[in-house]
Symmetry: C2
Subunit: 410 residues, 2 copies
């Protein structure tokens, strides 16, 4: 049994007409010789509407009941899609996250998938049913949990991995993964393929297309992901392992204006206090995007890190204590920054990429506030107002406009 | 732990404002010293809207997926009510039919409750939570089932019975049970009390207030039901056992215009063929409301029964076969009829009730097509256009306008 998992987002099932189109499309996939599992998001703006309803009755709705409330959006769309498929003469069954055995952690609004008992799904596939699964949700004990941002992608990828599917298709209203956001760079190139690692780095540095978490699961199970439009086979990008791709120095650019830089100057007990500060931040559930330490001299060490701007108040409170105890000289928090990243599996083994990047930005008088490099990524933090220019300049500098990233042997 | 179960219908939770009112009311019940379980229907027209959505994608939506779709209406209202209660500072938890252990038969759209595992609910009540339960639904295996018409009442009564509650309150937009439908008879009297048996007979003969099935469960568990408005304590009717009520000859009248009479003339092999015909009807899931046989002579027996009009085509097909085989002389199906019933626990032991009824109708030139009596009910079938007059005439004849039915010792 060769299984394909297809995931349709909210804009693909926004109307009854679209639901019927999706029904036809999944039947086509079935008729081309695959067992098919479909994962659906809630129709159009349903999720937002449900969240607004909660706000009408409570100033601070409990997350357990929020899970129950919001999960109904995907129940409606998956029941309707199963009905539409049945109406076209093909057996179909709709299963909730709970019914198809998606067990998660207990954070009701940001749960992580712990395991999937695939028995229910497999049983139905063997009986020749198309299985329609509610995206974005799972269960913890008897309770309904939500998978958090990008949750339907996570459902699809995790189910595909657990079932040993040959492919997971994320079908959406974008054409695929580009060398840069096409809304910013109008000659951005569509990539035919991208490696798991490159995609994880792009996601981490602001590309909104897919959560890194889902790509990580796919990488761990060596599962190919196709991202592209549901109704046009000309477009789309395959996320796969490096070996299946032509080697290329730079694959893409991303920018993130939703970021803040925190600077700590003159740390006294560098190792001990850095550890203490980072632990306090972690305890509050705050994720550090990037961090640099800079030892200027024996007794003068600075520490800089990037976080999401919504956490700056909490971080300020933590640092205030350390400053009062004179364990840091002073600190500053800058929210007027953007992170621009260059990603490509060839960066580590290509000379001069960092130099080229610095040169291009310097020539255009764009100051780099902080920079960090890894094997496959260079991230720079600059003033927010220069982010769009920087992306355009670097897209030109690295000649990404004409880039063709093909899959090997295709 | 003294438990009260309160059920709020769709019109009681139609707006966010009403949900807040219900939240306040159940907290009041809790503060008056009870553990509280609340059963809610879907908000306003939600159920109809969901059914219409299904019709948009399928000409004949499957009942399993319909169950999943429609069940979301109650999930939304119960999640919102739990949030509203929490917002007022009281612990609350929303549970789906499946989460609170309501196990049903497998008819997805007309399931019957088989058992309730009350452990989940009790656990929460012991922790001082108000438990909000989705009405109208249960589970069969992993699947969601719907309880059919009046299903939320059935949920409330069955949960109250299983928990050994002291009372089940069906809170609604009607003032209680009247001696006749107040839309027909404007001086109908509100009854303070009615017996289980009277209520079952009223429900069976057209009173739309509550399904007989729910009243039967209450009777079996000796559970008192209060039916009345949620926000006004002056009104309401208690359904209880006969012993708790003043004896009264006639309690109420009901009429049902949604009925058809089937007449079979000159049955040849009465016992055998009646049995055959009734079995064929039962196999098609058709319920016979009332039946009379009338042996005119040794070889001439007529059979008359009443059914819902939507089944007359199917019944015609069955009878056609018997007529062609010359085992019945001929048959007729009359859909231009109404059933008018007089209900009261004193009918059996009061002389002349039937005579009074016939006299009143005869004086007003209302022909009786068929009549049937039981211990506590007399039903007559008349032309549909006379139904309203008949109800008014009988309401006067039995002096129900000034009736006061009180509970004993109140």
């Amino acid at each position: 049994m060769k299984i394909i998992v297809e995931k349709y987002g909210g804009t693909s099932v926004g109307t009854f007409e679209q639901i019927n189109l999706v029904a036809k499309r999944v039947i086509e996939t079935k008729k081309s010789g695959y067992a098919v599992v479909v994962v659906v998001s809630a129709m159009g703006k349903t999720t937002d509407n449900l969240i607004n309803m909660a706000k009408e009755v409570s100033s601070e709705p409990g997350s357990r009941e929020m899970g129950m409330l919001v999960s109904t959006g995907e129940m409606v769309s998956s029941a309707l899609l199963a009905m539409a498929i049945q109406n076209l003469g093909q057996n179909a069954i709709a299963l909730t996250g709970s019914q198809c055995g998606i067990v998660t952690s207990s954070d009701y609004d940001n749960a992580r998938i712990k395991e999937i008992d695939t028995m229910s799904i497999k049983e139905q596939l063997l009986q020749d049913y198309i299985v329609v699964v509610t995206g974005f949700q799972g269960k913890n004990g008897r309770d309904i949990t939500l998978l958090g941002r990008g949750g339907s992608d996570a459902s699809a990828v995790a189910i595909a991995a657990a079932l040993g599917a040959v492919e997971c298709r994320i079908l959406t209203d974008v054409s695929g993964i580009f060398t840069a956001d096409p809304r910013i760079v109008n000659n951005a190139s569509l990539l035919k393929g991208i490696s798991y690692e490159e995609m994880i780095e792009l996601a981490a540095s602001g590309a909104q297309i897919m959560m890194g978490r889902s790509v990580e699961i796919a990488r761990n199970y060596n599962l190919e992901i196709f991202i592209g439009p549901g109704f046009d086979n000309k477009y789309g990008t395959v996320i796969t392992k490096e070996d299946n791709l032509e080697r290329i120095t730079i694959t893409g650019l991303s920018s993130d204006e939703d970021v803040a830089l925190v600077n700590l100057y003159d740390l006294k007990y560098v190792t001990r206090d850095t550890s203490l500060i980072l632990n306090e931040i972690a305890e509050k559930g705050i994720n550090i995007i990037l961090m640099l330490t800079n030892r200027l001299s024996e007794r003068k060490t600075n520490l800089t890190f990037a976080v999401k701007p919504e956490y700056t108040l909490e971080i300020g409170a933590i640092l205030e204590v350390f400053q009062k105890a004179r364990r840091i000289g002073h600190y500053s928090i800058d929210t007027d920054v953007a992170q621009v990243s260059v990603v490509g599996s060839g960066i580590a083994c290509t000379h001069g990429v960092v130099a080229d990047l610095y040169t291009a930005l310097a020539q255009n008088k764009i100051d780099i506030l902080m920079a960090s490099t890894s094997e496959i990524k260079i991230s720079v933090f600059i003033k927010k107002c220069r982010a769009i220019s920087a992306v355009k300049i670097l897209h030109d500098k690295f000649s990404l406009a004409g880039l063709k990233r093909e899959l090997k042997g295709v």
